[in-house]
């Protein structure tokens, strides 16, 4: 299973999201290949799931991955809930 965490530049906020997503997945006992990248690279990258903000989700419409929108990147409960619903 491949998960992409996506932000505008692919350097700062997507890495923060990735850290918390990895923590949550590991707590859920799910093993996954988690990467972080910018929105334009993500458009051309195959993945099972893309996790990003509402703002950027719109530019990823049409991607074959299931898109998960997270509002609060620091709220591991929200991340866990959204992942739980999607996986």
């Amino acid at each position: 299973m491949k998960v992409l965490c996506v932000c505008g530049l692919g350097q700062g906020t997507s890495l923060i999201l990735r850290m918390n997503v990895e923590n949550v997945l590991s707590a859920m006992g799910v093993s996954a290949d988690v990467e972080h990248t910018d929105v334009s690279t993500a458009s051309g990258t195959a993945a099972d799931y893309i996790i990003t903000s509402h703002e950027l989700a719109q530019s990823l419409e049409g991607h074959s991955a299931r898109i998960i929108v997270v509002n609060n990147y620091f709220d591991n409960d929200e991340i866990k809930q959204k992942l739980g619903e999607a996986l």
Partner: protein, 147 residues
């Protein structure tokens, strides 16, 4: 690596707009010698181009640009706004806490982000950032996080 050291913190600063708030946080990086003045321009340009996606949580924004936009040393600055301002985010407006990231290409960048993520993923810390009376109180939160 400079992580929220006292010269990188401004409490109850006044900003009339998101761009002004980003510039205040950028100016702290520049004054501390962690970024060139053009880095603040690059953060504002990124905001104009890509929107407020970096408003990562209710009332928290983490503006940043690329390392090659003038970062001298990996650093994080913090501006607490006297009055929250609207960044245009669908879920997390208005913003009161602005952490500007000056990322480098080094491993320090990751260490910095990890420290910031741990700090901000704790709801108690957030409340402390909002309530802290002075820079020393902020330093105490950070020291508590490192222990």
């Amino acid at each position: 690596m400079k992580f929220l050291e006292p010269p990188l913190i401004a409490l109850d600063a006044e900003a009339a707009s998101a761009e002004e708030a980003i510039r205040l946080a950028g100016a702290l990086l520049t004054e501390a010698g962690a970024a060139e003045a053009r880095y603040a321009d690059a953060m504002v340009d990124s905001y104009r181009e890509r929107g407020p996606y970096f408003v990562l949580a209710p009332s928290i924004a983490l503006p940043h640009a690329r390392a090659q936009d003038g970062v001298i040393e990996a650093a994080v600055s913090f501006v607490r706004l006297k009055e929250p301002v609207v960044f245009g985010h669908s879920a997390n407006d208005p913003v009161q806490l602005v952490f500007a990231l000056g990322g480098s290409d080094s491993g320090e960048h990751i260490a910095l982000l990890r420290q910031l993520t741990t700090l901000l993923s704790n709801p108690a810390h957030l409340e402390q950032f909002k309530q802290a009376a002075d820079v020393e109180a902020i330093q105490q939160i950070i020291r508590g996080n490192e222990q």
